[in-house]
Every structure is written in C-alpha cells, then in structure tokens.
C-alpha cells in the first residue's frame, strides 16, 4: 500500500489504476474517485467557481458541494461529484472550477427508459427503507426498492453498528438479497429517484454501466430512466449533515464528520493524520472515536455545548481525547489546506491554535425532505433537530426513519416497519399480526444539540471567508449584503446571492443559508421557511432523459407512397410537420433558384406534377354531415351538389382563420374534406370537439383518411392532354369535366378519383388513388418524360403569384377572411357558423386592420426577407418605430420576371399604389403596394 499512504492497514481488494489532473494513482475496487484521492493524500480536488480557492472532498455522497470533476476517459462527462464516481481501471478525470466541458464527440452509449408499476415504492435502502420493504414484500406486495448507492445499507455502510450481532452492512446485504429473491420484488441499485410528481409518478435514473468504464458492454444501456407509478411511496431518504459558518470553512482538510466516518469505515481510508472535531451535537463523537480507533490522532473536540452526552464524554476520556466544551472553531488556517485550527471559548476567552491536517465539522443533520416536498408535502420546523421535517401530504406518501426525524437506529428500523405495515394496508393487503426488526445495540442517551449556525467573527472580520454555499462561493458577507439590500425572503436571497443554485442544490448548505438570513433579520429559522424543492434531486444527464428519442427516432418521419421515387430523382426535401416533402428537384448544375424558376415555368407554360399526398383528408359521413359542415365553414356547404367541389375557410369562434381547403361531396351524406398539411390533426380534433361537446345530436362521424390516399397534382396548360392519354375512358373536355367537379375513372389502369381544382391558377387536376398505387400512378405520370416534377417551393411561388394565402404562413391567428380579401367566402345567408358573430365585433371591422397585399420591390432583383417590417418613411425615426406590418411570403417569379412578396399591412388595400419601405439590415428598401393577386387576376388560365 505504499502508493496509497492514507489507506488503512489490512484493506484488501483488486488494485485499480487511474489518472487525476495528469498524475497516475492507484486505488482499490469499491473506491469512489473521492476515496481513492483521499487514500493518495490528494487534498485539493477542485477549485471554486468565483474565487478560485482550492477545495477538497467535503462529503461522502451526492450532497458533495466541492469535489466536482470531469471524466475525460473513457468518455467525456462533465460536472460529476468525485464522491459518487465509482472507481474503475483506466479512469481519467480532472478537477473542475465549478464548470465542465461537454463532450466533443457523439456519445456511443445507449440510454433507455422503463415504465413500471408497483404497490409500494421504497426510496432508500438504509435501515428504515429495508425494514419497510421487508414488511411489504413478505406480505406479497409488489415492491420496488431503489437506492442510489451500489450496495444497500445507507447509513449502516459508514458505521460500525451491528444488527442481530453482525455488522449492519452485512445484515443489509443479506436482507436485501433475501427480498430480491421474492417474485414481486425489484431492487434498483445505483438508482437515484430524482423526481416525485402527482399521483405518485416517480422518475428514477439507474446507472447500469457507468461504473464499468471501458469494460461496459455495448449492448447494455448505460443509464435507464424509470418511470414508476406507485400506489404508495415510502421515502426513507435519510439525512445530510450540515456544516457551520466559520472563517476558512472551505479549506481542503475541512470535512463533514459523518463523511470522515464513512471514509474510515466503509472505504478504509484515513482522511487525515491529526484531527480537530467541531460539533454542535452528539453525532460527531461516534465519528471521532471511529477515527481514533483507526489511528487518526484526535487533537481535540470543540463542542459548542456545555453538556455533551455523558457516555460520549466518558469514551473520549478513556482514549485521552481532549474535550473542549463551550468552545467553537473560529478559523481553519493553512496555505491551500488545513494546517491548524483556531479554537476559542464561546464569548470571551483565549483562543488557541491547534496543529491539525483535518477538521471534522458537524452542524447537525438535515432530513432529506426533497421528494416529500416535491410530492406536495408541507414541512415544519423541528426545534430539537434544528431542521425541517415532513408535515402534511395529500398523496399516498410517507417518510420513514431519519427522513422524518427519527434519530436512533432502533427507532429507524421500527419506524420503517410501521411504514411498511401502513403501506400494505393502504395498498389493500392483509397486514401481518406482527413484524420483527433486527436487534440493534444500546445507544448512548443523547444530549440535546445546540443549533449554532454562525461563529461570530472578531470586529474587523467582514465574514468574507465564512462560506455558506461552497459551490457557489457564497459567504456570510454576501448574505448580509442581500439582507442589507432589503431582501427578507429566502427565495429572494437565493436569487440575489445564487446560494443553493449549484449542482448540489444546497443539500449541505440550504438550511445554513436560511439560518444566516434569519440571524440577520432577527427571526427564527422555522419562521423564515425554506426555498422550494424542485426536481431533479440530483443532476441527470440529458442523454438519459433523451433515451432512445434521438436522431431519426426523435420524432416520427412520415413519407408518402412516392417517396422513394423522389429520393431516386434527387429531390431536396423540406420538413412539413412530420412529413418529408419534396422541396425542389435540382438538375445537375442547378441551384435552388434555377430549379424553382424552371419548375414554375413548366407549370405555367407546359405541364408539371407535384406529390400532394400530404394534404390532410377527413371523411365526414352521416345524415347530418351537410348541416355540420355549414356550421364549421364560413361558406355554405349543404348546397354543394354530389360530384362538385367547393373551397372553404374555417374560423375559430373569434373569427380568425383556422384552416382552409376543399370540400368534395361524394354522396348526400358523405363529404371528403381536405386540410392544410400541418393542420390535419388539429382540424380533426376541432371537428370532434364540436360534435362531442356542443352538437352531440348531429349524426356525423369523422375519419382521418390522409394516409389512405395518394394524390398527384397535374398542373399546366398541357395537363388535360396528359390526363386524356392516361385516362382514355374519361371525358376531359371543359364541358364534360368543368372546374370544381370530380370524376371517377381509371388513370393508368388504376381506379382513381380526379378533382378539377387548382392551387396555381392554371388548368389542373388532382388525381387521387389508394396509397398502395401511389408510386405506380406517379411513375405512370412521369413515364412519358414530358411532365416536370415540382416541389413545395414551386407550389408556394405559384400560389403566391395568384394571391392564395397559406394558413400559418400568411396568417397567424389574428387574421380574418376579410383581412385576406376573401369577403366572398363569408356567407351572408347562413344564420350562424363558427366565427360569424365575431365579424360584427368592433375589433374585426377596425379600418386599420392588417390586410393581405402584394409588394413589388422597386428594384425587381431584390428579394425581401420574410418577416421584414414595413414603415412609411424613407428614413427611420427614433425608436420605437411604428410598423405598418410585415412580409409573410417572398419569392422570385418566373411569370412576372421579377421578385414579389405578400404582406400583411395596416389599411393595406387603401395603400395600393403607395410606396413603403422595408428596413433590411442598414437599408430601407422601397416597395410598391399592389393587389395580392399579381398573376392572371382575371382567372383566364384555369380552363386551359
């Protein structure tokens, strides 16, 4: 063990090699990075975030405020506490100054999620948790026992206490193994419960392979998120020791007393050679004696109380340990680490400097009430404990053991067993007539603690080294400054000073901060209350939360029946909701602009085709379908003849445009409604909401058929000729097949429904077939070689040239049909429809409403950015600059031979012919306001 100078004699286990801050060390299997560093005498592990002060290991678990490290190998991971990183061979880590670095390469590990249900969830496998789980499990309940550490035992791991005559941790291991053998019990090790939500919905993170380093098998998920719904939860979460505010309480070598006890007993490491102990309560005596028995010289115990527990005092005397009652530590002294400790009687008296390399501190213990509070429980201040304990809770949750303030081992076992019995009863199981708990040793009678939070400094001290939050570098001086600035709530002081906001969320320091605030305000800690406890209890990696929902599994990808053709023919795609839609089809050497201009020309001058399958399609069926659609659309649908098609707009009750599309009447009682691609689900929701909640008397059913149909839009002056060839049985002349009608026929031998509708102003058809035949139809249309495929960008240009708005692009939920220049779509005849009443509101008839207009930049080559604002003046006045509106769509037009835009502009229609300006960067681009219909305003082209 010569390589590990602070390792206890007789410690055995496999030797592990690791590297920290560029130096090679050895540790033992079972070590954490913190215990291995202590074994090697490494005192300064990290440095503080604001002041750059050296910081050492302070605690032995997740409450660690100081020892933040970054793992470098095998895979970079920032912001871990050295006290919770299990040592493995090949670990490379560095200490952090409060901030880490994200990995510069993709994480190769898998992360997963599990859903689970149970009768009783027990959080914490210490004495109380094991007792509770044992009672519930042996009665047959489905039990999950979760604990953050690799081995069960909780507080028993760090002590020398015995149960049934054997070491407590051995009892814990044996008992948990016995429970685990029961069929309905699941034990989750290395599993942190991080969130407790409504109805006992609990989130836990299980670390499955982190501790294996490079040896982790690739097929096992590194971490798993457990989403547990429990009938009843027992929170046996134990406690955290807290420290005291005195000068230099952040120096490496200052350590919580209970943590030092854990290092000596569990990790077989001496955290120092010569220690001073500073305590406000009895618990530090057990630590001092265990350290003394392990060979650490205890130079003195400074107890703030005049009367410590008598048994403890006697045991100190037996070992010749000097006991200074009524004393405090006024300062930890040393360069970079503790070399001596200044001890003084409380009040007046001569201070003494005691050489020591270790200062153990105990300011008392705080129950871990985080989950109880997250679950909605109230907290109350317990004077004896000097801490907040669980109060009332509505959920089926109870705290057990030290988590609710039970201080003895025997008491915690008994309390856990009782909690288990209550959980059984609540979950509907027969409660056994008696339950037994293992026998614990007699504990010395406890003397009351004295809650000292702050060691008063001499007059010239500014409290600038009395730390309350080590990780955030918050001192008593900072808290006094906050209170001096007038802040009197802990929530405000927290935000002002950042105390309690670090990775540790103030586990060891929150109460201390509150107490210093209370001290400054002259009120009681209990009166002041706590800050709100929020999930997560301990930090959780984003990778774990994301689980498998990454990359192509992040969101479902929807593709049409023709997708593989688009891919094979070099289409660029755009995401429209979850759909992948062809955006444009560049030919070799073409950029987007050239491709779109070519596609537009083909549609306007020749013949082109688009995959329009993603349009939402809803079958609306039933005797009252026509009545229903009359109420839903602003225009009349009931007068539509079978075989015909009508364009329609839907508004919300406030009169704002919600969606638009076509309505096809298939039979007296059957319509097919199309929606915009992105709104398909919302429109179906809307229909069902009205049918179920307002008009349950209407006999109508609505079915999404978006994916059942594939649609090809065939567009252009030559589209009729191409269709005639593909559908020889169909009369395609204008009289036989007029605009806004539909016919059934075979197209390329495939049964099809052909609709004569146009979203471009050109002669056009939409050919619908069963999606199974979508690819065959598309290939048949393309087979002649004369039809140009086009994508969504061309579709957008063509519709914009005609002034057809796209809901969601040219509208934003504040736009009426009238604003869009579509008064004609709003029925005057119908008694009512959704939105009608709102068109009579003063707001919807305001003359200064924004209206849809066209814009022509004076320089025909300038493309306005969408979103650009419009102003009246050629130079900008002082801010705030009044804006008249903004550009909603902007394109280059092949048909117009120039750029153009659509915009929503206040009093837009009155302004036609006016010049406005669009601030773009530092320039004001002059534009002329025009009608929103820029191409073929007479509609001469739609019949070919």
């Amino acid at each position: 063990m010569s390589g590990q100078p602070y390792r206890r004699e007789g410690a055995t286990g496999k030797t592990l090699r690791f590297r920290f801050d560029g130096r090679d060390y050895e540790g033992l299997e079972g070590d954490t990075l913190a215990s291995a560093l202590l074994a090697n005498g490494v005192r300064a592990v990290a440095s503080s975030i604001k002041l750059g002060r050296p910081r050492g290991v302070y605690a032995a678990g997740c409450e660690e405020p100081n020892a933040l490290v970054q793992i470098e190998e095998p895979f970079p991971e920032p912001m871990l506490t050295a006290t919770t990183v299990e040592l493995y061979d090949g670990l490379v880590a560095t200490g952090l100054p409060g901030q880490g670095r994200l990995a510069d390469r993709p994480d190769p590990a898998r992360y997963d999620a599990v859903h689970a249900h149970c009768d009783v969830l027990v959080v914490g496998a210490g004495p109380a948790g094991i007792a509770a789980a044992g009672v519930a499990a042996r009665a047959g309940a489905r039990v999950i026992l979760a604990d953050e550490r690799p081995a069960p035992g909780g507080s028993l791991l760090g002590t020398t206490e015995t149960l049934d005559g054997r070491p407590g941790h051995e009892w814990a291991a044996a008992e948990v193994a016995a429970l685990e053998a029961l069929p309905e019990v699941r034990v989750l090790r290395r599993t942190s419960v991080i969130g407790h939500y409504d109805d006992n919905y609990v989130i836990a993170v299980e670390r499955r392979t982190n501790h294996l380093g490079a040896a982790a098998p690739a097929h096992v998920a590194r971490e798993r998120v457990w989403r547990i719904r429990a009938k009843r939860v027992v929170l046996a979460t134990g406690g955290h020791e807290r420290f005291v505010a005195f000068a230099g309480n952040d120096l490496p070598g200052v350590m919580l007393a209970g943590a030092a006890r854990t290092y000596v007993n569990h990790y077989r490491v001496l955290p120092g050679r010569r220690a001073v102990v500073f305590t406000t309560n009895d618990s530090a005596y057990a630590a001092a004696l265990d350290l003394a028995d392990a060979g650490v010289e205890i130079a003195a115990i400074a107890d703030v109380r005049q009367a410590p527990g008598e048994t403890w005092a006697a045991r100190c005397a037996e070992r010749g340990i000097e006991l200074l009652t009524g004393h405090v530590v006024t300062a930890a002294l040393g360069e970079g680490e503790v070399s001596s400790v200044r001890v003084a009687p409380r009040g007046d008296g001569q201070a003494r400097e005691i050489p020591a390399d270790l200062l153990l501190v105990s300011g008392g213990w705080t129950p871990v009430v985080h989950l109880f509070s997250q679950a909605g429980g109230t907290l109350r201040y317990d004077e004896g404990l000097g801490a907040f304990v669980p109060g009332e809770i509505r959920q089926a949750v109870e705290a057990a053991g030290f988590a609710r303030g039970v201080t003895t081992l025997r008491g915690c076992l008994e309390d856990g067993a009782q909690a288990g019995r209550r959980a059984l009863a609540a979950a509907g199981f027969a409660v056994p007539s008696e339950t037994s708990v293992p026998a614990a040793e007699e504990e010395p009678a406890a003397a009351p603690a004295e809650h000292l939070w702050l060691v008063e400094a001499p007059g010239d001290d500014d409290y600038g080294a009395h730390f309350v939050d080590l990780q955030r570098d918050v001192t008593v001086a900072d808290v006094l400054r906050a209170v001096g600035a007038g802040l009197s709530s802990v929530e405000h002081v927290k935000r002002y000073t950042t105390a309690g906001t670090a990775h540790d969320q103030g586990k060891t320091s929150g109460l201390l901060t509150s107490a210093v605030v209370a001290h400054a305000l002259g009120v009681d800690v209990g009166e002041l209350g706590t800050t709100t406890f929020r999930a997560p209890y301990t930090p959780v990696s984003f990778a774990a939360l994301a689980g498998r929902d990454r990359g192509h599994l992040h969101d479902p990808i929807r593709v049409t029946a023709m997708h593989e053709w688009h891919v094979a023919h070099g289409a660029r795609f755009e995401n429209v909701g979850q759909w992948k839609r062809p955006w444009y089809y560049p030919r070799p050497g073409e950029d987007m602009e050239a491709a779109v201009l070519r596609e537009c020309r083909a549609a306007r001058e020749d013949v082109a085709a688009m995959d329009a399958s993603t349009l939402g399609k809803i079958d609306v069926v039933g005797p009252d379908a026509a009545v229903f659609l009359d109420r839903l659309y602003t225009n009349m649908m009931s007068t539509l003849k079978v075989g015909s098609i009508r364009y329609g707009v839907m508004c919300r009750a406030d009169g704002m445009v919600f969606d638009d599309g076509t309505v096809i009447r298939l039979a007296d009682d059957r319509f097919l409604v199309t929606t915009t691609t992105g709104n398909a689900a919302a429109v179906l929701d809307w229909m069902e909401e009205w049918l179920q909640t307002e008009w349950p008397d209407l006999r109508v059913s609505c079915t999404s058929v978006t994916e059942q149909w594939a649609t090809v839009a065939l567009v252009g002056p030559r589209s009729r000729e191409v269709l005639a060839r593909l559908a020889p049985g169909l009369a395609v002349d204008n009289d036989s097949f007029p605009f806004m009608t539909w016919r059934e026929a075979e197209v390329a031998g495939i049964p099809a429904r052909i609709c004569r509708i146009s979203f471009s102003g050109e002669l056009a058809y939409e050919i619908n077939v069963s999606s199974w035949y979508g690819l065959a139809l598309w290939e048949a249309v393309m087979a002649s070689g004369e039809v140009t495929p086009y994508g969504t960008e061309t579709m957008h240009v063509l519709r914009a040239e005609k002034g057809y708005p796209i809901v969601g692009q040219d509208t934003d939920g504040t736009v009426t049909p009238q604003d869009l220049g579509m008064e004609w779509i709003v029925s005057k005849k119908k008694a009512d429809f959704i939105g009608k009443r709102s068109f009579a509101r003063a707001d919807t008839s305001r003359p200064d409403r924004k209206q849809l207009v066209g814009l022509l930049p004076e320089d025909p080559g300038v493309l306005l950015p969408e979103g650009a604002h419009l102003v009246e003046t050629s130079s900008l006045p002082e801010p705030p600059v009044p804006t008249l509106g903004f550009v909603t769509s902007s394109y280059r037009s092949a048909a117009l031979g120039r750029t153009f835009a659509l915009a929503l502009v206040s009093r837009g229609r009155e302004r036609i012919g006016e010049r406005l300006y669009a601030p773009v960067g530092a320039e004001l681009v002059p534009v002329t306001v025009t009608s929103h219909v820029l191409y073929d305003p007479e509609g001469a082209r739609r019949d070919g």
Partner: protein, 92 residues
Amino acid sequence: MLLIPCPWCGPRDEAEFHYGGQAHIAYPDNPAALSDEEWARYLFFRDNPKGPFAERWSHTAGCRRWFNVVRDTATNEIHAVYRVGEPRPVTA
C-alpha cells in the same frame, strides 16, 4: 404526471390527454342576439380559481372522447370525473 380516470378507459397517464379549459361554457344559442360584451365574455373570459375547478379534458391518444373533471388547481386532486352533458357532481 396526473393519473386521469377517463370515464371510458379508466386511469391513464396525463400525457394521453389534452386539456380543454373551463367546462360548462356552452356555445350561445343565438350569438347574433348577444351584445359585443356578452360575446366577448364567451370568447375570452374564463374563471381561474385556486381550488376545485370543473374543466374539460379529451382522451386524445386513447378513446378520443371529451369529458369533464373537477380538479383542485392548488393540489391537483381530482374530485370527480363525468361525461359530457352530465351536470357537475357535488364534491367536497
């Protein structure tokens, strides 16, 4: 995450549902007869109590039915669940 007892499917995770705001706000029989203020009240005004609140939920990812819930907005306790058209039950 709430556990919401759908009256048609039984208890399901909140993630399966969509929220629909205050319940028992009927679409007016004759909107044309309402004053602008009355219509604006229907459109824009909803209660926001601390305590029991009758509200609408839709089991969107399940049976797709709308139904009503009396939920305490301060504690999230669900006092009652009932079907559309049924009166609000008396709860504690």
